[in-house]
C-alpha cells in the first residue's frame, strides 16, 4: 500500500477517535448543565459517558502502542517506490480494523442514548448542493443520524457484492428522501458530501428509463458486467454536483473500510470524471497515483480479494458523463471555476480566518487605485467629484460570498495538503499514556499529540461551519445587488459594470 494512502488511513482513524471524544464531551457537558447546583452539589458525571470514555481511552491506548511501528510513514527507508511491505500493511490493517470495530460499536451505543441534532449549517449546505426544486417527486430531504456503519440502505456495487448504500429498503414515505449520516460526522461539514448519494440515486431513478433507452439505442455504450449502470451514474451525478470533494470523501471512506473493490472499480471512473469536468490540482493526482500503485501492488501480492474483471472503458464513461452533464446544467453543477475559487481559500483556512467571501478586487489592485487617487488628489472636499471618487474606491473592497460547496472543498484540499504535518505532530509525541487509571476527559491530557490533533480538527470544523453560515447571511444581504456581486458562477475577473475610477 502506498504511503500517501497509509497516512490518509491513519489520519481517518485518528479523526474518528477525536470526533467521538468531542461528541462525548458535548453530551457529558449537556448532562452536567441539566443538574441544578443550588445546593452547591454538582453532578458526579454520567456513568454511561464515563463507561464510553474508558472504552475510548483503551482504543487510543491501542493506537498509541502501535504508533511506533508506523514510524516509517514519515521516513524514507521504504521498500519500493514509497510503499510498505506486505507484512507491514497487514499489521497496520489489522490494527486499524480493530480500532475501527471498537469505534463502530461505541458509536452505535452512543447513537441510541444521546439526542444529537444535525447542525443548522447543514441545511444551508443542502440547499446549495442539492436543491429540492431539481429533484422530482420529493418534498424534502431528511437527514437521519445513525451509528457508524449502520445503514438503511443496501447497494449492490458490482456483480453480487453488497457494499455501501443507495437503494432504500421499503421506505414508507415516498415523498421524503432519507439521507443517513454517521453520528460521528454530524459536526464535520466535510463529511456532509456523503449525503449526496441518496440524492443522486433519486435523480437517477427519475431518469433511469431514459438512460436505459439510450443504452438500448446505442447512444450510451453498455457498461462492463462488473459495473452497474445505477452505481456508475450516481457516482457521476454526485461528482457533477460536488466536484472533487466527493472524490476525496469516497476514496477516504473506501480506504477506511478497506473496500479494495471500490478503489479498483470506481476510483478510475471518478478520476476520469474529474478530468472530464476539468478539475485540476496536485492533491487529486497524488491521491489517484497512490490508489493506482496500491491496486497494482495488491493485485501482485494478492493480499486482498479484488473482484477480477475489466474496469469501465474510457469511452463508456465519457458517454455517461455526457448524459450527466446534460441532466445537470452548469447552474446547479460544481464547475471548474468553483474549484479554482476553493483552491484559493486554502491559504485563509491555514491562517485560521473566515473563508466566507473574497474581494472582487485584489489588495494590489486597490493599492494601485489608491496611489492614483492620492496622485490626482481627491478634489475639493465635499464636491460631487470627490465623493464619486471615494465611492469608486470603496466599491473596490466589496466581497462576493462563496458557495458552501467551495468552502467545504477548501476544507478537503487543506486536509489532504496538511495531513502529513498534523499526523507527524500527533504520532511523534514523546509522551505515552499509562496503562490504567484512564477515566473521563482528563485522559486527553495524557496524550498531548492527540489533544493537539483534536484541537486543530475542532478549530478547522468551526471555521468551515462559521464560514458556511456567514456566506448565507452575506447572500441574504446582497438581495437586490448587481448580479455580479451575487453570481454563484465564480470569476476572479473584476466585474463589468463596477464604477470606474476617475
Amino acid at each position: 500500500m502506498h504511503r500517501v494512502l497509509l497516512r490518509l488511513l491513519v489520519f481517518e482513524i485518528l479523526e474518528r477517535i477525536c470526533r467521538f471524544e468531542s461528541l462525548l464531551e458535548e453530551y457529558d457537558a449537556s448532562l452536567n448543565l441539566r443538574e441544578v447546583s443550588v445546593s452547591g452539589i454538582h453532578s458526579l458525571g454520567s456513568p454511561f459517558a464515563n463507561g464510553l470514555y474508558r472504552k475510548l481511552a483503551s482504543v487510543k491506548q491501542h493506537i498509541l502502542l502501535s504508533s511506533n511501528q508506523w514510524e516509517s510513514l514519515f521516513t524514507d527507508n521504504l521498500e519500493q517506490n514509497g510503499s510498505w511491505s506486505r507484512a507491514q500493511v497487514q499489521l497496520l490493517v489489522s490494527q486499524v480494523q480493530q480500532a475501527q470495530n471498537s469505534l463502530n460499536e461505541l458509536s452505535r451505543l452512543f447513537s441510541r442514548a444521546a439526542r444529537i441534532q444535525p447542525r443548522s449549517e447543514l441545511s444551508i449546505f443542502l440547499k446549495d448542493a442539492m436543491p429540492l426544486s431539481f429533484l422530482p417527486n420529493a418534498h424534502g430531504l431528511e437527514v437521519l443520524l445513525l451509528g457508524e456503519e449502520e445503514s438503511l440502505f443496501v447497494q449492490p456495487l458490482a456483480g453480487g457484492s453488497q457494499a455501501t448504500s443507495s437503494q432504500p429498503l421499503h421506505w414508507p414515505l415516498e415523498d421524503i428522501l432519507p439521507a443517513p449520516l454517521s453520528i460521528l460526522q454530524v459536526n464535520n461539514p466535510m463529511a456532509w458530501v456523503s449525503l449526496v448519494k441518496p440524492y443522486a440515486a433519486s435523480l437517477f431513478t427519475a431518469q433511469s428509463n431514459d438512460w436505459l433507452d439510450a443504452t438500448k439505442q446505442g447512444r450510451v455504450p453498455p457498461l462492463p458486467e462488473n459495473l452497474r449502470l445505477d452505481t456508475a451514474a450516481e457516482a457521476c451525478i454526485a461528482l457533477r454536483l460536488l466536484g472533487p470533494a466527493y472524490y476525496y470523501q469516497q476514496v477516504s471512506q473506501a480506504l477506511l473500510y478497506l473496500d479494495v473493490n471500490y478503489l479498483y472499480h470506481m476510483e478510475p471512473l471518478l478520476f476520469q470524471a474529474l478530468n472530464y469536468f476539468s478539475y485540476t490540482d496536485k492533491t487529486l493526482v497524488i491521491l489517484h497515483e497512490a490508489v493506482e500503485k496500491t491496486i497494482r501492488l495488491l493485485s501482485v501480492e494478492d493480499s486482498f480479494p479484488v473482484q477480477a474483471g475489466k474496469t469501465a472503458m474510457p469511452e463508456v464513461v465519457d458517454a455517461l458523463l455526457h448524459c450527466v452533464e446534460a441532466l445537470i446544467p452548469n447552474r446547479y453543477a460544481f464547475t471548474e471555476k468553483h474549484f479554482q475559487r476553493a483552491l484559493k481559500l486554502q491559504e485563509r483556512l491555514t491562517q485560521e480566518t473566515f473563508l466566507s467571501a473574497t474581494p472582487l478586487y485584489s489588495p494590489e489592485e486597490l493599492h494601485e487605485a489608491l496611489a492614483r487617487f492620492s496622485q490626482n488628489g481627491p478634489g475639493e472636499a465635499g464636491s460631487p467629484s470627490s465623493s464619486d471618487n471615494i465611492y469608486s474606491l470603496l466599491a473596490m473592497t466589496t466581497e462576493t460570498p462563496h458557495a458552501p460547496r467551495e468552502i467545504i472543498t477548501a476544507g478537503w484540499v487543506t486536509k489532504l495538503d496538511r495531513l502529513s504535518v498534523w499526523l507527524y505532530d500527533a504520532l511523534n509525541s514523546p509522551e505515552a499514556m499509562p496503562t490504567n487509571g484512564l477515566d473521563g476527559p482528563a485522559a486527553n491530557t495524557l496524550w498531548p499529540g492527540m489533544a493537539r490533533f483534536k484541537d486543530r480538527l475542532e478549530r478547522q470544523d468551526h471555521l468551515l461551519l462559521k464560514s458556511v453560515e456567514t456566506s448565507e447571511i452575506h447572500r441574504v444581504l446582497l438581495c437586490g445587488a448587481p448580479e455580479e456581486w451575487t453570481s454563484r458562477a465564480a470569476t476572479s475577473v473584476p466585474a463589468a459594470g463596477m464604477p470606474a475610477l476617475r
Binding site: 448543565l33 447546583s37 466581497e399
Partner: protein, 228 residues
Amino acid sequence: MSILNEVQILQRLSEPDLERRIMITPLVRPEEQFGPTSVDLRLGTDFQVMYRSNITHLDPTGEQERLGRDVRRAMQLVKVQPTEPFILHPGEFALASTLEFVKIPLDLAARLEGRSTWGRLGLQIHATAGFVDPGFAGALTFELSNVSRVPLPLYPGIRIAQICFYESGKTSLPYTQKRYSKYSGRTTTASSAFYKDPEYQRIRQAMQMETTHATAMTSPKPEPAPIP
C-alpha cells in the same frame, strides 16, 4: 494618537506588508458601511443570555473548574437563522458577536462604538469593553442591553456597531501573545472567563492560608510528654 480616516483605512485594507494590514471580512456593502473615520460592523447569529434560575450566585473564589461550569450553566446559548430575529426585551442583557472576522495590526488599536440609529432606540452594544488591543484577530463580542421600554428584534447581518482605528506605534505585547489573554482567536460569542484572572488565584491562596492558620490556632495543642 490620531484616528484613521476612510482613505487611511482603505490603505490599511490593501497594505502590501501583511503585518500592517487590517482585515475585515466579509465586507458586504462597503459604500453603506464606511463613514469618514469608521467602518460599520454587523451582528452575527450566536447569542448568550443570562439564565438566572440555574444558579444562586457566581463566586469567583471557588474552584475554577466548577466556576466555568456555573458560568456555562448561567448562560443560555441562542442561535438564530439568517432571516430570524433575536428579540432583546427591555432591561435584558445578552452577549453577541460580529458577523465579521476582524484582524487588527500591531501598530493600531481600535474602538468599538454603537450607531446612533440604534442608540436612539435604546440599544447599547457594549457595557464597558469597547477597546480592541493591537494584534486582536477574531470576532468581536457585543454586550447588548435594551434600555428602552419596547422589545427590539435584532436580525443577523444588521449594522449594529462601528469600529474606528487609532495609530499606536508597533506594540511588543500583541493581544495574541499577552500572557493572560482569555479570548484570543475566538470567532464566536464568548462568555466571561473572569474567574481565570490571576487575582482570584492569589485570593484563593490567601484564603486557604488563612483557613489553615485558623485551624492550627483552634486545634488543641498536644499534651507535653510526661517526664519519666
